[in-house]
Amino acid sequence: MSILVIAEHDNEELKPSTLNVVTAAKEFGEAIDILVMGENCQKVSKQAASIQNINKVYCMSDAQLKNHLAEPLTAGTMQIVKGDSYKYIMSPASTFGKNLLPRISALLDVQQISDVTEVVSASSFKRPVYGGQAIATVESNDDVKVITVRVTAFDAAEAEGGQAQVTEVAFNPTEDFGSTFVRLEVAQSERPELTGAARVVSGGRALGSKENFKMIEDLADKLGAAIGASRAAVDAGYVPNDYQVGQTGKVVAPELYIAVGISGAIQHLAGMKDSKTIVAINKDEDAPIFQIADYGLVGDLFDILPELTEKL
């Protein structure tokens, strides 16, 4: 009777999102196990074992798990789940967790609870719906609760000091998965990762071009911030897709969010309105972004951005 957290990692490092899921898991007050699946993921398993208050860590290392394809990860998880009686199976509501957990939920014949922002009780949860326009409280009557966690809604658990035991488990799939990995194009960046960053500077279509977006980068670098963008800026090709903040992109909740040239469509607000301090810079004083901003500055971003970057 315990909790299984499926770790998100890149075979080298445990992703911080796993720490937020552990904090959410702690609310149930039961033993927490972590499952690390990948190839040569012993180092990651050790990192998972040093998170405080972890019962045990399963390390499943196999070439077929290297690229984290959903089908082999499902088989690996089912292998562990069948041997134990987990009441909760949890993962971050990142593209990793979203891709994997519904499969496990379907095979266990339970209804997954997506994007949980609050644990109300052992069986009831809050989650945003309609792009954050409403919050639904739901009570699950399934024996096993499969949950993806909105990482910005929970603090990171203490990553050091734990001494959980690591158990190596062999991966024994019985089926042919039908999917193969071709390639991964990862945007290389020295900047902090968007979803976990303490500061985010986001740009919208008003930047006008990929070249002008450099001004957002300059401000972000001055602040040590991550860079985000509205859907319009991504669609216009100013920045890659993984910069998108919003209902269908990434959800962020940094200490400081600076929205530059973003009008504030509902879909964008859904991804950032839980930020602690919001600054909006826009030339349209009636832009909806000002209705949720703590500090608004009306004016031409092409004047304001260089001045702000210089004076900080």
């Binding site: 891709n99 209804q111 326009q133 409403a134 999917s179 071709v182 194009e185």
Partner: protein, 254 residues
């Protein structure tokens, strides 16, 4: 190649939704309804595959009230060949018909229709679950490629570029397979008036969800639907100096 496209009728993405006064759900009456934007992208992709000579037939299916046939007609006006409406009077957004039930119903239809490819939206913009495609893939034992921004079919496999948190990932899946669409896969067309007229004559099968051998008791009881915490508008500052002063001395974030 036969393509199966499950779609959903949802409140239009431009509508600001209203919570029912008794907090039992979202007001659905007298509200503009549309095809879920991600599903519209799925229909468009299927139509493009047919236009390029790779697909031979496109079947669209929706589960919902009688009126949900509107979205099937829209999809047929875009180029789908026929539609299947599975009717239910239960709510399809929150509290009644859930992704797991939908996936089971779709599985049963797919076993009858035997498509080579299923293309569907990655999530519906009402319950924002992002589950049905992945569940369907697991239940059928077919490979999945979710959050697609590019789809290239060749022979008996499909190469899909996926939008993931770190960047772009490319996978090759053997057909039959389940693909779910992301925003940048394509830009859906507007149906022309002649095509809208033609779509009215395309075949549409009506079935009842009750006739499927499913347990439709919800697993998630909807306790309440509430307003999100309200964020008050702050203040407008005069200039950059005033902004920096506020951030340093009031918000203390820099």
């Amino acid at each position: 190649m036969k393509i199966f496209v499950p779609i959903k009728r949802v409140i239009d993405y431009n509508v600001k939704v209203r919570i029912k006064p008794d907090n039992s759900g979202i007001e659905q009456t007298n509200v503009k309804m549309s095809i879920n934007p991600f599903d519209e992208i799925a229909v468009e992709e299927a139509v493009r595959l047919k236009e390029s000579g790779k697909a031979t037939e496109i079947v669209v299916v929706t589960i919902g009230p009688e009126k949900a046939q509107e979205v099937l007609r829209t999809a047929m006006a875009m180029g789908a060949d026929r539609g299947i409406l599975v009717t239910t009077e239960e709510a399809i957004d929150l509290g009644a018909i859930e992704p797991l039930m939908i996936a089971k119903c779709l599985k049963s239809l797919i076993e009858q229709e035997k498509p080579d490819l299923v293309i569907m939206g990655k999530q519906a913009i009402d319950d924002d679950s992002n589950q049905t495609g992945q569940m369907l893939s697991a239940l059928l034992g077919w490979p999945q490629a979710t959050f697609a921004s590019e789809i290239v079919t060749e022979g008996d496999s499909t190469t899909v570029t996926r939008e993931i948190d770190g960047g772009l990932e490319t996978l090759k899946v053997k057909m039959p397979a389940i693909l779910t669409t992301d925003l940048r896969l394509n830009e859906p067309r507007y149906a022309s008036l002649p095509n809208i007229m033609k779509a009215k004559k395309k075949p549409l099968d009506v079935k009842a969800l009750d006739d499927f051998d499913l347990n439709t008791t919800p697993r998630l009881k909807l306790i309440s639907v509430d307003e999100p915490p309200k964020r008050e508008a702050g203040e407008k500052v005069e200039n950059v100096d005033a902004l920096i002063d506020k951030l340093k001395n009031e918000a203390k974030v820099i």
